[in-house]
């Protein structure tokens, strides 16, 4: 009985000690102090206000949590950050150095009210490892902001979508005024935070941007600016887009998007110290910043329409077995095998390349046996899901899958099916890869004669030159697994030239010859076109006269003389610069022949006269002929 009492006493003491030990290193609630600070009032509807709680007395780790226990309906709050700050001080106390550590945490909330009024924000509950600190609510007054017909804000998005579909959400801010007078723009679209978005496009340096406030803080979206006229008012429209990716079916009520601007209604001129000198002030003002300062500002607000966004589940009817959640358009599937000659049981590594417009990055590979792809009786397929590698540059995803052939009778790797859902057409589509021809041989049976030492293995080979290789003795087991033993059997290919058309010497010579010919013809043509048409006609005329004179040698004497005289007459009138004396002499000789009384038909004109006639018109027309 006494021993039982002693045991009980020890147990109680141990329990007390353990409780005491667990409380050591912890902080009592009273040691925790909290300072609450807010931005300077006034606060406005639709404009986020930061509340900062500075907490001292907590441990550096773990990170504390902070929740707002009670929040009025029109007010939304978003925990922005909890950041610790640790300050360590070392000081000397007697002969000992002591270290003093001060820990403080900064907790920031952003609160936004959708209606004007006085609201109690809080209480705030701060917790860390069993320590809980309650901070009394703070009262904040949100003033209303007048709306303006000069400003609009629009959220442009479809009303329905499907999970994983890329949905373009447009945000347009319309302003009918001088945008230089807008000193601040606050677009509140935090309601979209309940969805996931693709990474936003980065805007170019100096390009237009549209600031949006989200749970991640303010982000500047790459924007475009255009002019629009509506109801006789000219608006400057700044629009930006984000890509929303719904993750689950459901109906979502989206609160109106709102925009609040601070508009400068009166400017004051900043006085520069250099103004007194009468020069330079303007230059410095332009160089170091605007010389204008706002003297008076007003706030205006615009609100969009509330929207309902429905994410529909994929239709069950007609859903192919090879559908694994891909949504988009134009998907393609390419499959390649590392080898095509295998034995039963050998692994074949398939590389499946998936491309298309849609959720490629998150796409998964369906079962390889789906929709009549690979027969599970003929191929051993992977049991688990195959992870892919996304290539961001090419926008494709690659899956490496290993399958084993189980059936000797198969002669091809069948086409693999991949299905996706086209959200625009609201229908499923299936694409198939090309089948790959296979040569499957019976499984290699390893008999007792194959299970020998490497030296015997070498001896067994009939190869005369490598039969005694000691390298084989030291090497691994010889295997053909991993090699593609398919060969080309067409003798026309094997014995044909290994040159491409490009490498063909005749092709190259033809290319250079044709090119040169083209240019040569073009140059000749150009020179011909550059010659004066009258000169060309003159040359042709002179050529005709020479031809007449030359051919006159075959005519009867008198006829030839007349022909030559006539040709010389034409040549002289065409070319006054010809040697007139020589021509007239020849013409006189010709006329004397033409009018002589005898007329022998068989007599021909003297070649010397023909030669003189030709020389008379050749002398000075030589230069022209070259044209």
């Amino acid at each position: 009985m006494r021993s039982q009492w002693i045991s009980l006493l020890i147990l109680v003491m141990l329990a007390w000690l353990s409780m005491d030990a667990s409380s050591m290193g912890q902080t009592a609630d009273d040691d925790v102090t909290v300072q609450v600070a807010t931005e300077q009032s006034p606060y406005y509807v639709g404009v986020a206000v930061t509340i900062q709680l500075t907490v001292e007395g907590l441990q550096a780790e773990p990170e504390p949590t902070c929740v707002i226990e009670s929040l009025p309906d029109p007010v939304r709050a978003q925990l922005v950050a909890i950041s610790p700050r640790v300050v360590q001080q070392v000081y000397r106390s007697g002969n000992q150095f002591r270290r003093l550590e001060q820990v403080s945490h900064t907790i920031q909330f952003q609160v936004t009210a959708s209606d004007p009024g006085d609201y109690d924000i809080g209480p705030f509950i701060i917790s860390q490892a069993g320590v809980e600190k309650r901070v009394e609510p703070i009262r904040m007054t949100f003033d209303s902001v007048p709306t303006s017909d000069d400003m609009r804000i629009k959220l442009i998005m479809p009303t329905t979508a499907y999970p994983d579909q890329r949905v373009t959400v447009g945000i347009e801010w319309w302003f009918a005024g001088d945008t230089d007078d807008v000193s601040s723009l606050n677009i509140d679209a935090t309601i979209l935070d309940e969805f996931r978005f693709d990474p936003d496009a980065t805007s170019r340096r100096g390009a237009s941007r549209l600031p949006i406030r989200t749970s991640q803080g303010a982000i500047a979206l790459a924007a475009t600016v255009r002019e629009e006229v509506d109801d006789g008012q000219r608006f400057t429209v700044v629009s930006a887009e984000r890509t929303l990716v719904p993750s689950r079916p459901g109906t979502f009520e989206i609160e109106p998007i709102s925009a609040t601007i601070e508009l400068v209604t009166q400017w004051q001129r900043r006085r520069s110290a250099l103004d007194d000198f009468g020069f330079g002030g303007s230059l410095f003002g332009e160089t170091f910043g605007s010389r204008r300062r706002a003297a008076q500002t007003s706030r205006f607000r615009a609100e969009g329409e509330p929207r309902t966004f429905t994410v529909k589940p994929f239709p069950a009817q007609g859903k192919p077995a090879s559908f694994s959640g891909a949504v988009g358009q134009g998907f393609s599937l390419n499959v390649s095998a590392d080898r095509t000659v295998v034995r039963v049981g050998d692994p074949i590594r398939l590389t499946v390349q998936l491309g298309g417009e849609g959720n490629i990055e998150g796409a998964s590979l369906p079962s390889l046996s789906a929709d009549g792809s690979l027969n599970a009786d003929q191929f051993r397929l992977p049991d688990s899901e195959v992870a892919g590698v996304f290539d961001r540059d090419q926008g494709t995803k690659r899956f490496d899958v290993s399958v084993r052939v189980l059936d000797e009778t198969i002669d091809e790797l069948p086409a693999i099916a991949y299905s996706w859902f086209d959200a625009d057409e609201e229908s499923y589509h299936t694409v198939r890869s090309k089948p790959i021809a296979l040569r499957v041989m019976p499984a290699q049976v390893v008999g007792s004669d194959a299970v020998v030492s490497a030296a015997r293995l070498s001896d067994a080979a009939p190869s005369p030159d490598e039969a005694t290789s000691t390298a084989k003795v030291a090497s691994k087991l010889f295997t053909l697994s991993g090699a593609d033993l398919a060969i080309e059997t067409d003798p026309r290919v094997l014995l044909g030239a290994s040159t491409t058309v490009l490498a063909n010497r005749s092709f190259q010579v033809a290319g250079y010859a044709l090119g040169s010919l083209f240019v040569l013809m073009a140059v000749i043509d150009r020179r011909r076109r550059q010659v004066d048409p009258s000169v060309r006609a003159s040359v042709a005329l002179m050529r005709d006269q020479r031809r007449r004179i030359s051919s006159a040698a075959d005519l009867p004497l008198k006829e030839a003389a007349k022909e030559i005289a006539d040709a010389l007459q034409i040549a002289r009138s065409e070319r006054p610069e010809l040697k007139r004396a020589a021509i007239e002499q020849v013409m006189r000789d010709c006329e004397s022949i033409a009018y002589q009384p005898s007329d022998a038909a068989e007599v021909r004109i003297e070649p010397d006269l023909v030669a003189r006639a030709l020389a008379a018109i050749d002398d000075s027309s030589l230069a022209s002929e070259s044209l």
């Binding site: 290919v493 040169s516 140059v523």
Partner: protein, 263 residues
């Protein structure tokens, strides 16, 4: 004796018919063979016939390059016959003829894995990198062809400019002319690029020597197996001074190796 043995054990050599068809038939028999000895013998027969085909083609048309597919067939047959050295040599020759030949690359990679681990091998990334590079993948004669095409196009455009005075045609002609010059420069670059002559050991267990003499001490702890690759530094009579792919230099008898020429 060895030559007699080969001819007596290689019925394809004296059988009637096209050597290519005989080689292909022997290769198919090897693929279908279930007995290892039969398979290796048929592969060896196919290898011999493919090699005879290549030798015959070289003698008939000395200037015409051998088709890469024929080299790959030879390499596959040699690989099946467990002649790793001959296989590596054939695959490398196939890749010289057609630098991006997929099966040659894959099987060369596999053949290298069959060599002992200590044998220095070319850096696969470096060796294969150029295959994927478009510029590296084109041979000098392909660049010549591209240059001829560029010249033809440039001249046609220039002729169009001369005929029509169109400035667009002139600008395009200038651009294509620059492409022509680039293509010509590439042929020059390939021609004058300092690339070492590479070779492959084709005889099993070649003792690498410290000097060009049969009596010189061995330079390596192990004899080089067939299939070992190296770069040729110097040729002296019947010996080659070579650099292995781990940087070590040694001497090999010329009769034990085959070189590929400049890569």
């Amino acid at each position: 004796m060895l030559a007699m043995g080969v001819s007596s054990r290689c019925p394809g050599a004296d059988a009637s018919g096209d050597p290519v068809e005989q080689a292909t038939r022997a290769y198919q028999l090897a693929i279908d063979a279930s007995n290892r000895d039969d398979r290796v013998e048929q592969f060896w027969r196919a290898e011999t016939l493919f090699r005879q085909t290549i030798d015959h083609q070289r003698s008939v048309e000395p200037g015409q390059p051998i088709h890469a597919e024929l080299y790959v067939n030879l390499g596959n047959a040699a690989l099946g016959a467990e002649h790793v050295g001959a296989a590596i040599l054939a695959y490398r020759r196939a890749l010289i003829s057609e630098p991006q030949h997929r099966r040659a690359m894959q099987n060369l990679r596999h053949a290298r894995t069959l060599l002992p681990d200590w044998v220095p091998k070319p850096d696969s990334e470096a060796a294969m990198g150029s295959f994927f590079d478009f510029a590296g993948g084109l041979r000098s004669r392909d660049w010549h062809g591209l240059a001829a095409v560029a010249f033809l196009v440039a001249m046609i455009l220039w002729a169009v400019h001369l005929r029509t005075e169109a400035s667009t045609a002139r600008h395009l002609a200038a651009a294509v002319g620059i492409a022509w010059i680039v293509a010509l420069a590439m042929t020059m670059t390939q021609h004058f690029r300092p690339s070492p002559t590479v070779g492959v050991v084709v005889i099993p267990d070649v003792i690498a020597r410290a000097a060009d003499s049969m009596n010189a001490p061995a330079a390596l702890g192990n004899p080089l197996p067939s299939g070992s690759e190296f770069q040729v530094i110097e040729v002296r009579d019947s010996w080659l001074r070579v650099r292995l792919f781990d940087g070590r230099e040694t001497w090999l008898p010329a009769s034990a190796v085959e070189t590929l020429g400049k890569t």
